[in-house]
Symmetry: C2
Subunit: 435 residues, 2 copies
């Protein structure tokens, strides 16, 4: 018989699809997974529960950030106002070139804690400094989908094989679906790498069953470059090289056309929609409603803080339906329930996790508590709409990851945030001066 | 000699135009106005100051919400997904029709406190229930620009004169630039009222020196309606009827063309830009950069919470440059300093107040404190960009209006928020059921 280690009881439970359960509770096993959810009256008798915590408020799944480069907290806001290409080459990469593994660890601890305090329990990270990333989330308590990057500038003589060997080793070392870290492979983009390089990485990802995470169609300039170089779109290029045969997460997709979307849908691929970053860099507005209509799975992402400039996925939660409605001139273009799906189950599927983003038996107990005693939740008649359009990270008070309470009353229980902030101030200034 | 009642000392002072002053302080007189601002070392000696409060953090002007209908907190989120016209007629007006003055008072107290907790110290309100509105802000401590509405449905036999008499009386009773309440006149729109009705109201506003606050070009349908009915745009219609000769605040302006913008600029009129509401109702994206280029003053507004669904102007602060950049595909379209201006001095000018929105001698001491010890402000090199793009209402800890501390450590010092929330839950549910 499954042991129920703890029970969290709220005023309301928010389940996938927008279902609201008054007097709802979540039963959590000793393994950190959910045993049962639903009205408290229908659950096991209290004597079978280790501890009952009447936390009140709204209990809902932790949000999932489908696309981030979180150690970039150290270069937050750098180069604001530049277009993507010069922003990367003139402001970001020179600073990142001086980053040490220790810098990355502190930057990741800062960003991971920033996310956890906002109720974002999982992030999918395209970055480097893999040991440091894992060490950081071990300390903050967050859940990490780590997809180590492959960029042309770091390949010796353009040879991608040594990096593939590293990715394989990282996958063997860290990929653990029974823990808090899983591993994917992240070739940067079809414009930075050759299709043959991307295909080699994809074949190895497919061989080990790893997620393939790649930037796709972020800017119109990038689309034009690939069209000129290869005579077809980047998505067609990936399809032609067998890259879409595995599990693929394409970040951005601002300029995907209908055929690109069809190819992604047929392949069961996902798009990480990063509306704030896309607006901030002047890249455009991705046609998310078209993606969904075409059958493409969508998850929301913040992208890196240098183009956002925070990791507060609640902002993407509100902005996504706003942009869908405004750009289509249709207030019915996306509703609150559909929106929440993109930040929970949609994003979880996008990053290759089938047991987060959802409060159901067997799923990880990644749970957040929303304080409903705030002005933004009155009158409370349309509570789901309040949560999506009036709610924000300021209402998240407590966060559990795999049943472990990593945020309590708006404070990290895991790290000394003042120390983390101080470290990142010093290290961020050093990178800026070294530039 | 001016008496310095209190001095607030922060780590950094944020002045208009984006100037950051380390070790800055604000000296406040017994009349609630600023005596001096600047580096503490350059201010009067401490023995001449009543009390010195070393609050730390970032001190900046309170934000100004240029367009709101705040008692609509009682109908928050109602009718989400409907287009503007049916949303008003089917979801909002039927509920509002049952609203009592006491409802409006509690709804205004809720929204006013929601704004103050977010660092929004002034709001310009187009609504009814004027005595209740004033009573509400007297209790919450907020600053109110009250512009009582004129809508055709409430005019007996289409006669606007009785309402103008009421407006006059309200102006005489409540307009007090030396206090916290000023009064303007608010004919709803050029499509709801006849041009003659609007002109009559405008002439009276001009006669007493009151702000004229009007909806203008919110939807394309409304633009088409006015063009069909009058053979010219709504803005041209207002100009032709002498309405633009006074001080005019036009809300929305999504569909203003270049000639409309020129007319508004020449008249010294302002636009209240409400990007969240405009997206949520599917109205479109107002060309704010064009407005500014044309010389039209712009202030940011939330609109009512039924189309937002909160009063957190920080969201408009971030979204305005994002939309400007994204829609123009230009990451340099609007920078952090220009953005902050729209939420402070631009909005203050828009609502007819020349001594708020700015920390300078003689201005009201409407000051907010931002907690800089948060992840979103590390590394802190580009602090102004952090404030606009990474900051949010969650970082506002303390708020002063006319030198009086109305929010302390994220709590209202003025009202029992739990009571206000409870009242609005009950009253909001009654309105929904009465509908």
């Amino acid at each position: 018989m499954t042991v129920i280690a703890q029970r969290l009881v709220g005023e309301v439970l928010l389940l996938t699809g927008g279902q609201l359960v008054p007097g709802g509770a979540v039963d959590i096993g000793t393994d950190g997974r959910i045993v049962a959810v639903g009205p408290e009256s229908g659950l096991a008798p209290p004597e079978r529960v280790g501890s009952v915590d009447r936390v009140g408020g709204l209990l809902m799944p932790g949000l999932v950030n489908a696309h981030a480069h979180t150690p970039m907290t150290l270069v937050r806001s750098a180069g604001d106002g530049m277009p993507l290409e010069t922003w990367l080459t003139d402001a970001i990469w020179p600073r990142e070139g001086h980053m040490t593994p220790d810098d990355a660890k502190w930057g990741m601890m800062l960003g991971s804690t920033e996310m956890l305090l906002a109720g974002v329990t999982t992030s999918c990270e395209m970055y480097f400094f893999e040991d440091a990333m894992v060490e950081a989330v071990r300390r903050t308590g967050g859940r990490l989908v780590m997809t180590p990057g492959v960029v042309s500038a770091l390949l010796p003589n353009g040879d991608v094989e040594p990096r593939i060997t590293e990715l394989d080793e990282l996958f063997s070392r860290y990929h653990d679906p029974s823990g808090r870290v899983t591993v994917g492979f992240a070739p940067h983009s079809p414009y930075d790498l050759t299709p043959e390089q991307v295909a080699k990485i994809a074949r190895q990802a497919q061989a080990v069953g790893a997620l393939l995470h790649i930037h796709l169609e972020e800017t119109e300039a990038e689309r034009a470059l690939v069209l000129a170089r290869h005579g077809c779109t980047a998505t067609q290029l990936l399809a032609d090289h067998g890259v879409l045969e595995g599990q693929v997460l394409a970040a951005h997709g601002v300029w995907l056309d209908a055929n690109d979307q069809r190819l992604l849908a047929e392949a069961g691929a996902s798009v990480a929609h990063c509306p704030i970053s896309n607006l901030k860099l002047g890249s455009g507005i991705a046609p998310v409603v078209d993606f969904l209509s075409a059958g493409v799975n969508v998850g929301l992402g913040t992208d890196g803080v240098a183009s956002n400039d925070n990791l507060d996925l609640w902002e993407e939660v509100k902005l996504t339906p706003l942009l869908a409605r405004g750009s289509r001139r249709d207030p019915a273009a996306m509703d609150a329930a559909a929106t929440l799906t993109l930040a929970t189950t949609g994003a979880a599927r996008a990053v290759g996790l089938d047991s987060v983003g959802d409060l159901r038996p067997g799923a990880w107990a990644d749970v957040i508590r929303i304080d409903l005693d705030q002005p933004q939740f009155a009158p409370g008649i349309d509570l789901l709409t309040h949560v999506v359009f009036a709610g924000s990270s300021r209402h998240v008070t407590d966060v559990w990851v795999a049943g472990h309470r990593v945020v309590s009353d708006r404070m990290s229980t895991m790290v000394d945030l003042d120390e983390v902030v101080a470290q990142c101030r010093t290290r961020g200034r050093r990178l800026a001066l070294a530039n």
